[in-house]
């Protein structure tokens, strides 16, 4: 049997259900790993050691008596520290948050607990999941490089084998980017598919809770267990038809990213998938401007009271962002929301002949240093439009860091996107994570 730290969430859940592993063994293994590696990787904002072990003991007895709570019974999970979880602080990497405040479970955490997951703790985040202070989470493939962000700890914790799965968020590129940078799988569902209840917002109409896990099958397992709106049934595919977006997504990527993703697409083609180039509508060129105006206005509105009451405890960077974003004229915000509808309508026909679109997840691997959490430009269009998007690792850049293949579907086709990711992962394989 594979060692616990090397199991996917799906394998671990299966082994717990069949009695080969008990939840106490699983939680203890991951806690030992965290104790040994956390001082370097810095993935965790809070670890609920006692609570997780107590829960694991109860779940071990339940498993022995055949009373499984759900498909994730006994599987440890980490939560980005912008979701509330009962018994744990929510700090969002900000000194403005009260470490003694208590909260009820957020919708995602409640759904995970109902499915049997054990909440191991809270994962590090960029300040308020925005563009403020990064937490200093290091990339397990090379600690001189960022682990990505803003779901920094969520990506690093899975990539460093500290937990089999985590929950992140994505407003621009904050969930799939750390998944890709750490060589694991990630999924940003359709807007509204996962609950935002109890999530500190960046931007209400752009925020998406997301998943990070060891494999695409894990994404299927976890999404199926916690989605409040799972969308349409997966469309059965005899042979996957994949539309490749060469405009913008390949044009703005670095040479070795293009080479690695092209090689992956060639392997998918050789395995029987149909891979065609698809052109973007002209309006797509405005996507970044539309996203920027919507995100900045909503972020400023949410943080305005905090700026007034606790601005001196905000980081300088976050404070400046809130002050500047507050100046976007209302007419421009509304015009951006109208342009979003136009862009969504212009993009939907791309899925008529191809249920999924493919492109690089990021233009380059994780950058060196910890000040920047990387480039979100290939991810933010799908956050803007609310379309489901998955990433799976597809190879290594010349510097040895992971690169991802991004797969995107029409809204509501979450299960189809995940099934496409599973099919692609079977061809491309998974990366062996660093020791």
């Amino acid at each position: 049997m594979t060692g616990i730290l090397d199991m996917t969430a799906t394998e671990l859940a299966g082994n717990i259900a069949s009695g080969l592993v008990d939840p106490v063994e699983a939680v203890s293994s991951y806690l030992e790993r965290i104790e040994a590696r956390e001082p370097l990787w810095r993935a965790w904002a809070h670890i609920d050691r006692d609570g997780a072990l107590a829960e694991a003991r109860v779940m071990t007895e339940e498993a022995r008596s055949g009373a499984l709570r759900g498909p994730l019974h006994g599987v440890p999970v980490g939560i980005k520290d912008v979701f509330h979880a009962q018994g744990m602080p929510t700090l969002a990497n900000s000194k403005t948050m009260d470490p003694n405040a208590t909260y009820a479970d957020s919708g995602v955490v409640a759904a995970l607990r109902s499915a049997g997951a054990i909440i191991l703790g809270k994962c590090e985040t960029v300040e308020f999941a925005g563009m403020g202070v990064p937490p200093g989470s290091r990339n397990p493939w090379n600690p001189a490089h960022t682990g990505g962000g803003s779901s920094s700890g969520s990506g690093v914790a899975v990539g460093a084998r500290m937990v089999p799965a985590t929950i992140g968020t994505q407003t621009g590129g904050s969930n799939l980017r750390p998944a890709s940078y750490n060589g694991v799988a990630g999924f940003k569902p359709s807007y509204g598919a996962l609950s935002r209840d109890g999530l500190l917002p960046v931007s209400w109409s752009l925020d998406h809770p997301g998943l990070i896990a060891r494999s695409a099958e894990d994404l299927d397992l976890i999404f199926g267990a916690i989605a409040q709106n799972p969308g349409l049934e997966a469309k059965q595919q005899d042979a996957w038809r994949i539309g490749v977006l060469r405009d913008f997504f390949f044009e703005t990527s670095e040479t070795d990213t293009v080479a690695v993703v092209d090689a992956a697409l060639a392997r998918l083609c050789a395995a029987g998938m149909q891979v065609d180039t698809v052109a973007l509508p002209e309006l797509f060129s405005a996507h970044h401007a539309i996203h920027h105006l919507i995100m900045s206005t909503e972020m400023a509105a949410y943080h305005a009271p905090r700026l007034a009451s606790a601005g001196e405890r905000m980081s300088g960077r976050h404070k400046l962002l809130v002050q500047a974003f507050a100046l976007v004229p209302a007419g421009y915000y509304l015009q951006a929301l109208r342009a979003r509808r136009m862009l969504r309508d212009a993009m939907l026909p791309l899925f008529d002949a191809h249920p999924v679109l493919a492109m690089p997840t990021t233009p380059a691997p994780a950058p060196e240093g910890l000040e920047s959490t990387g480039n979100a430009s290939l991810l933010s269009p799908w956050s803007l439009l609310g379309f489901p998007a998955a990433t799976i690792p597809c190879g290594l850049a010349e510097n040895g860091l992971p690169l991802g293949l991004q797969l995107v579907g029409a809204p509501g086709t979450d299960r189809t996107v995940i099934q496409a990711a599973i099919a692609a992962e079977r061809v491309l394989g998974r990366l062996e994570l660093p020791a």
């Binding site: 807007y191 469309k235 400046l320 969504r344």
Partner: protein, 71 residues
């Protein structure tokens, strides 16, 4: 701030900087400059779009329910 005729990046930036000086104190407004540049650029792009009269804003709740017909 007008939407039409389209505004230039410079026009939008000057508008934002004057707002910043009113909203926040002068020295602090200067620190906002690089962030205001990004907003001004986005305003110029969105201002230049031709949006038909019948297009309504796409709010979050609309995104959650729109476009989920089988395809």
């Amino acid at each position: 701030m007008r939407l039409k005729p389209p505004v230039s990046v410079d026009h939008a930036r000057n508008y934002l900087m004057s707002c910043a000086e009113l909203a926040w104190d002068g020295p602090q407004a200067l620190e906002l400059g690089p962030i205001l540049d990004g907003i001004a650029n986005a305003m110029a792009i969105v201002s230049a779009l031709d949006i038909p009269d019948d297009i309504e804003p796409l709010f979050g709740e609309d995104i959650a329910t729109a476009g989920q017909e089988p395809r």
